[in-house]
């Protein structure tokens, strides 16, 4: 009846036009994303120039003399005009050449390669655990609204949402690393000689920190969204029709409740990409966060640029994916793009 009519509406629209509407939307978003990355690179470069000192000073430190500084600066092309340095780097990027690390004097890809892998594993683990868990917790809290489970979840998520992630990290170390239960390593020094997958015990605590930092936000949105859906007309209609609660949740409530949750999830995951900086530092985990901190301290501009752009790109991609998923899941938005 009503449902059938809706479907036939959609079928009548020529496929080509609906596809190109969506495609145009995303192409525009991708173009904006690239522009954003370019702007980010300019800002980061400008920021590194504003910092006191340069790479040569940072490397030579206390042992710098005017002579050795000049020689090193010349070798690293730091005596060239600033704009020149930026355009050199930019032309390199356009050729997909990330340049040479100023500090280690070898390709940036070599310097950050394994770090990216390590952070990716951390990111993956944190995501795989936090997303399903928060959806579950939020849904159950909504279903058992105002009962004990809901109250406990509400307070717990509030507490963790307000704690800075390094506090969570240190607390985890105290409980599981050095203090109460000495179950897990207190520092996450990955042996670069062996695969990270063989050393997952070192990844657990940093991943747990990220999970605990992110779950509260997704859970609360999921709960709110679920509550709103459960109170909606069509769910009430389905209940009146006599459908089982389980079917209602699976077919009607969940898909609609998820849409707002997708946005916050995408944002949270993007936050994780940046949040690794602090967490990796607390645990001594050799990922891109720690790599970025080191690179900034030593003014290793090509590495700073590469990592900053990576994190920015992850942000942009995740936002885009979040939007794409939301459109996919919401028929209303899909049709409005035609």
């Amino acid at each position: 009846m009503a449902r059938k009519a809706l479907r036939s509406n959609v079928a009548e629209t020529p496929r080509g036009r609906s596809f190109s509407g969506v495609a145009r939307f995303f192409l525009r978003r991708i173009a904006l994303g690239v522009l954003t990355l370019f702007l980010v690179s300019v800002i980061i470069f400008a920021a590194t120039q504003v910092l006191p000192g340069d790479t040569a000073r940072a490397i030579l430190g206390r042992n710098a003399t005017p002579e050795t500084l000049a020689e090193l600066r010349h070798r690293l092309h730091l005596d060239q005009p600033v704009v020149h340095q930026y355009t050199d780097w930019l032309t390199g990027i356009l050729r997909l050449d990330l340049g040479q690390s100023l500090v280690q004097e070898r390709p940036v890809t070599e310097v950050i390669g394994s770090r990216i892998g390590n952070s990716a594993i951390l990111f993956l683990l944190a995501t795989l655990v936090s997303v399903p868990l928060s959806v579950l917790l939020g849904s159950i809290a909504a279903l058992r609204r105002d009962r004990i489970f809901d109250h406990v979840t509400s307070i717990t998520t509030l507490v963790f949402a307000s704690l800075p992630e390094f506090v969570i990290g240190i607390a985890l170390v105290l409980v599981f690393g050095t203090g109460v239960f000495q179950l897990l390593p207190s520092v996450s020094i990955i042996d670069p000689g062996r695969s990270v997958w063989l050393q997952l015990d070192k990844v657990i605590l940093p991943a747990a920190t990220l999970v605990l930092a992110v779950i509260p936000h997704i859970t609360r949105i999921m709960r709110a969204s679920m509550i709103e859906v459960l109170e909606s007309d069509y769910v009430e209609m389905a209940r009146l029709k006599g459908l089982s609660e389980r079917l209602i949740i699976r077919r009607h409530a969940l898909p609609n409740a998820i849409a707002p949750a997708i946005q916050i999830t995408a944002l949270s995951l993007a936050w994780i990409a940046g949040g690794v900086v602090l967490v990796e530092f607390v645990f001594g985990y050799a990922g891109i966060g720690a790599g970025l901190v080191d690179a900034v301290a030593l003014r290793d501009i090509p590495v700073v640029q590469a990592l900053a752009l990576l994190i920015a790109a992850i942000y942009i991609v995740l936002n885009l994916a979040g939007d794409a998923l939301t459109v996919f899941v919401s028929p209303r938005l899909r049709t409005s793009l035609q």
């Binding site: 000073r57 490397i59 030579l60 070798r75 390593p185 020094i189 000689g193």
Partner: protein, 503 residues
């Protein structure tokens, strides 16, 4: 030949005893080290070791012509003879039969190549010290012999030759493929994280190393490092903080090794700028410091009291100088004479070493008794040693263990690259420089000692440094390993891991 000749011939008895000891020791195992001070700028290059962990790391792979032993005495290593034929002429004869890790024999060409590389590389730590060599006129006499000429006479060249960052690399050296003569060979290296080295079976010293391999982990965070030792993830660490001593000493299966070094913690004042251009003010400042108290509060009681003069470990150090202590009365009197009662001055400080920041606060506190107000301005290390370094009026610094004349060359001459105090002052200049120029040409150590004593007396009476302590390195290790001895030069058994073994 006027020279001083140093020959490396250990006594026969010692050799036998050592061999017996060595025979009894257990061989094998992988030694895991947790070291401080690393970063992404780490390198395994023998000539660019800018940080302490770099110096430590490359010392396993490379060796120099000589080194300093546990008591900071000069000891021959790759050279079997080093003779100062004249104060500006040094003859070096290499030990026969030494090979690099790839089998290439050590020759005189390698020595010349290495020293040339050091003085032309901007990141080379040994550059300032070895610059006194005239490498263009220096000549190889045969496969094992080099005659070095110096640009001007300077017996302190021997100290430079023994520095850990002046190791010998082969002529065809590729920095990406480490190749030295040392007890360990390169396996892998990840800057800022870990290096792995394997035992050198062809090492020219018999019987060592005992362990099969060494893994050096960068553990920059002080807490993480001691946690790694407590958790059994590493066998030995350096840079233990005094505050962590109780934790480690309370464990039955851990030991602490204390190494009183010549590394000095200092405050320094510019002698050419008010108010410190008046020697009475400088003397007053030095009398304000209660040194034992400062060591107790800033270094957790671990360290030797300093007497405002460098190089306590130098065999020629002037131990006759009266140890300066706190004398507030005299300090006030001097300030009054100089018209600087109620002096207020800013001290630039930062976490150069953990103790220096705390010591600055202690100094400010102690100064109040003399009616001196010290305002602390804390900056980061990059700023302290940045573009304005060498312009500061009153700041903090530390100096690595070096003999006196080497330190003077770096810090206390008008030509010194790091003359933070802008020394000498007008009154001392003539005498001080005359003494220095004579000392560096005096091969006889007793005569040189007398000259050094006079220079140090001038430092003590009129200088711009407040050297309140000499640092004691704290290493800690599991009882599973043995062989770690106190060492006046460097932590980690003077960077010599070849003599450590599992029990």
């Amino acid at each position: 030949m006027v020279g001083v000749s140093l020959l490396g011939l250990p006594g026969c008895d010692d050799r036998e005893e050592e061999a017996q000891e060595a025979g009894r020791r257990k061989r094998g195992g992988t030694l895991i080290v947790g070291a401080s001070g690393g970063s992404a700028s780490d390198s395994v290059d023998p000539h660019l070791p800018l940080s302490t962990i770099d110096q430590f790391r490359q010392a396993q792979l490379y060796e120099g012509l000589a080194r300093f032993d546990a008591d900071f005495n000069f000891k021959l290593v790759l050279a079997e003879e080093i003779t100062l034929e004249q104060p500006d002429r040094m003859l070096v004869r290499l030990r026969p039969g030494v090979e690099f890790h790839n089998g290439k024999p050590l020759t005189a060409d390698d020595v010349l190549f290495s020293y040339r590389r050091i003085v032309t590389e901007p990141k080379g730590l040994g550059r300032a010290g070895l610059s006194i060599l005239d490498l263009d006129s220096s000549k190889k006499l045969d496969e094992r012999t080099v005659r070095f000429f110096l640009k001007s006479p300077n017996v302190a060249i021997l100290d430079e030759v023994a520095q850990v960052f002046n190791g010998i690399a082969p002529v065809d050296f590729d920095p990406r493929e480490p190749n030295g003569t040392g007890p360990f060979m390169f396996e892998s290296f990840e800057p800022g994280r870990q290096s792995v080295f394997a035992r050198n079976p062809q090492y020219w010293q018999a019987d060592v190393p005992y362990v099969d391999s060494v893994v050096i982990n960068d553990l920059t965070d002080d807490t993480a490092r001691v946690n790694a030792l407590l958790g059994g993830e590493v066998h030995v660490i350096d840079g233990l903080l005094a505050t962590q001593l109780p934790v480690v000493e309370g464990q039955d299966d851990l030991r602490v090794v204390r190494s009183p070094s010549g590394q000095s913690s200092t405050f320094y004042m510019r002698v050419d700028q008010a108010p410190f251009n008046d020697v009475r003010v400088r003397q007053a400042m030095r009398l304000i410091v209660d040194r034992p108290q400062m060591i107790q509060q800033a270094l957790g009681g671990v360290g030797q009291v300093g007497n405002d003069v460098f190089s306590i470990q130098d065999p020629l150090y002037n131990h006759d100088l009266p140890q300066r202590g706190q004398d507030i009365g005299e300090a006030r009197s001097l300030l009054k004479q100089a018209g600087q009662e109620g002096l207020e001055v800013e001290l630039l400080t930062g976490p150069v070493t953990p103790g220096l920041l705390a010591a600055s606060q202690v100094l400010a506190e102690q100064a109040k008794a003399a009616d001196v107000r010290i305002n602390l301005r804390q900056v980061d290390v990059g700023t302290l040693f940045g573009d304005k370094f060498l312009t500061w009026l009153f700041a903090v610094d530390f100096w690595s263990t070096r003999n006196y004349l080497s330190t003077v060359a770096l810090a206390l001459l008008p030509t010194s690259p790091f003359n933070e105090t802008h020394w000498p002052d007008d009154e001392s200049r003539t005498a001080y420089l005359r003494l220095y120029n004579e000392a560096i040409q005096t091969v006889d150590s007793e005569k040189r000692g007398e000259l050094i004593h006079e220079m140090q007396r001038i430092d003590w009476e009129r200088g711009g440094y407040i050297i309140w302590a000499f640092d004691t390195f704290l290493d800690a290790h599991s009882t599973k390993i043995s062989g770690l001895q106190p060492n006046e030069y460097k932590p980690f058994n003077g960077y010599d891991l070849s003599r450590l073994f599992f029990v």
